[in-house]
Subunit: 327 residues, 2 copies
């Protein structure tokens, strides 16, 4: 596949899907009648990227980016900074393709995530837990090794990969009225919006974001990129800000963004754990929280929800902080 230097087309997404299929799972689409009832009778179709290889949709984008490297780039390896799912996905994809991976990770990163990334054979470079330290350390690594920086979201190759989750969801369901995905840096949301617009032109495309890190919601209203001044959310995958490429796609292709409270994120997460018996991480519960907070928008509608990932730290679960409510 060739590298993409413009917004991915339908053909790009289809080609990407075919190419990455040997590196990813085709994840199931699940339904849950009792959660439907809690959402005013919406019909929800959950695309289970929590069952994806390396535990999250990030595997799709990483595979897409890795498979587009030139032969000489492959030899020099790839690098990124991430403490989360992008790190694991890039490490796993690189391992399978015989490519060296350098991952810059804050020294306070969660033990299990660090360990998982190491088990995929990546070289971990610890840095101070600030964005500046991450970027400086990454820059040093790239200069020293010649590795290619694979951005976690602001990259058309990544976006084309993330788009394949929505493509599969739309292929596997009939006539959805709406589709909704979480927004962090906007890679998954951009891919979801593109696939949905291409494959189902009349579908409503929604994003969901924690109210505490509502940079995308504010950016779309302002017409330019605004950033978060706090990272105070349990949805640790959604603390990042948009990039210019993802902001551009979101501006063009999505209908609206819902913001949700921390309490409702944990409540939605609890419902999925208790009723569907599957593990999702807090970031992954944000779209369901949005549907639950806005049932009037979704009543009677067929709604696709991208469940983004299932990598959660079992030693630090949020349920105690937000006790069970009565439904």
């Amino acid at each position: 596949m060739n590298k993409l230097s413009r917004i991915p087309t339908l053909e790009d997404i289809q080609e990407t899907h075919e190419s990455i299929s040997r590196l990813i799972h085709r994840t199931p689409v699940l339904t849950c009648r009792s959660i439907d009832e809690m959402c005013g009778g919406a019909r929800l179709f959950f695309k289970c990227e929590n069952f994806q290889k390396a535990g999250a949709f990030k595997m799709r984008g990483a595979a897409s980016a890795l498979l587009r490297l030139l032969p000489e780039e492959r030899r020099q390896g790839v690098a990124t900074h991430s403490s989360g799912n992008h790190a694991q996905a890039l490490a796993r994809g690189a391992l399978l393709l015989g490519i060296k991976a350098y991952i810059v990770m804050p020294e306070n990163a969660c033990y299990t995530k660090r360990k998982a990334t190491e088990q995929y054979g990546a070289e971990i470079i610890a840095c101070a837990p600030t964005l500046e330290a991450r970027e400086t350390t990454l820059q040093t690594i790239v200069e020293r090794t010649g590795a290619t920086f694979v951005h976690p979201y602001n990259d058309y190759n990544i976006i084309a990969g993330q788009a394949t989750a929505a493509k599969e969801l739309l292929d596997d369901t009939d006539a959805l009225d709406a589709i909704i995905a979480p927004i962090g840096g906007g890679g998954l949301m951009s891919g979801t919006a593109l696939a949905a617009r291409y494959l189902s032109p009349k579908i409503r495309v929604y994003g969901a974001e924690p109210a505490n890190v509502n940079d995308a919601w504010r950016s779309l209203r302002a017409g330019h990129i605004l950033t978060n001044t706090t990272t105070d959310t349990i949805a640790d995958g959604l603390r990042t800000n948009l990039g210019d490429k993802t902001f551009d796609i979101l501006q063009r292709y999505i209908d609206d963004i819902f913001t949700v409270s921390e309490q409702n994120i944990v409540y939605a997460m609890r419902q999925v754990w208790e009723r569907m018996k599957i593990i999702i991480e807090p970031s992954c519960a944000v779209p369901l929280a949005a549907v639950m907070q806005n049932t009037s928008v979704f009543t009677g509608k067929r709604v696709g929800i991208i469940l983004s990932g299932g990598n959660v730290d079992l030693d630090n679960l949020p349920f105690g902080h937000y006790p069970a409510q009565d439904a």
Copy 2:
């Protein structure tokens, strides 16, 4: 279907399976390569009864017993004592069949389990948290209402229902070398053993039990039923003792029982949560703990594991008490 007054035959199990199919899910069989590797290269096939209706295999037995009631028995309702999965299953089955259900539950039962049982429309009768109080209260209810007592495990109708989980697992996999299930009162184990012996005569049939409540292990060695003197295990579904019917079937049809430590139960549960991203309850992790503790027995073997249920109290998870070990 007629009531069963002898050990279920293959035909009984097949007839039961057909009859209960409208009240149960056909649950999936999942595999997990990384857990296989942790088990010395065994090939494990997980029968996911945690995804069963009402969250556990108990739905199968309850449906089997309810569908065998005579018309006059249906009119007078059913009763049982249980704080767990049997209560929820009987309540749900009764609701769907238009039968009144009386559930005697200790007053200290977990809030979410009580609530779930109530939501299925059952009448909950609270009693003191002792076996004696449960039995006396149940007796009073049965005398007052004429309801039929549905025993949670020591009943051939229940056993025929539980057997259908192993039947499906064997139908959906090729040539298993062994099958393993947890042992509490022995209903699931009895059904598993019968289905396995009928459908796959050469298969090895194993039970798994917490070492702290190893009544079945001791009973088989003694040749008569022994009881537990403590209920000190996190596997709350496995604290009960065998009944005469289940003991008889276990004596005849199973090869061996493995006992496992509390720490290994929680470790196995954590692996399933982290790697398979599915929720299982502690009792459900006991067979995997047994395989992990005895890898030499299972190396290179194709092993069916009945994952019995996924009803867990998210406010009281065990991971903090047994921190993550290095694999």
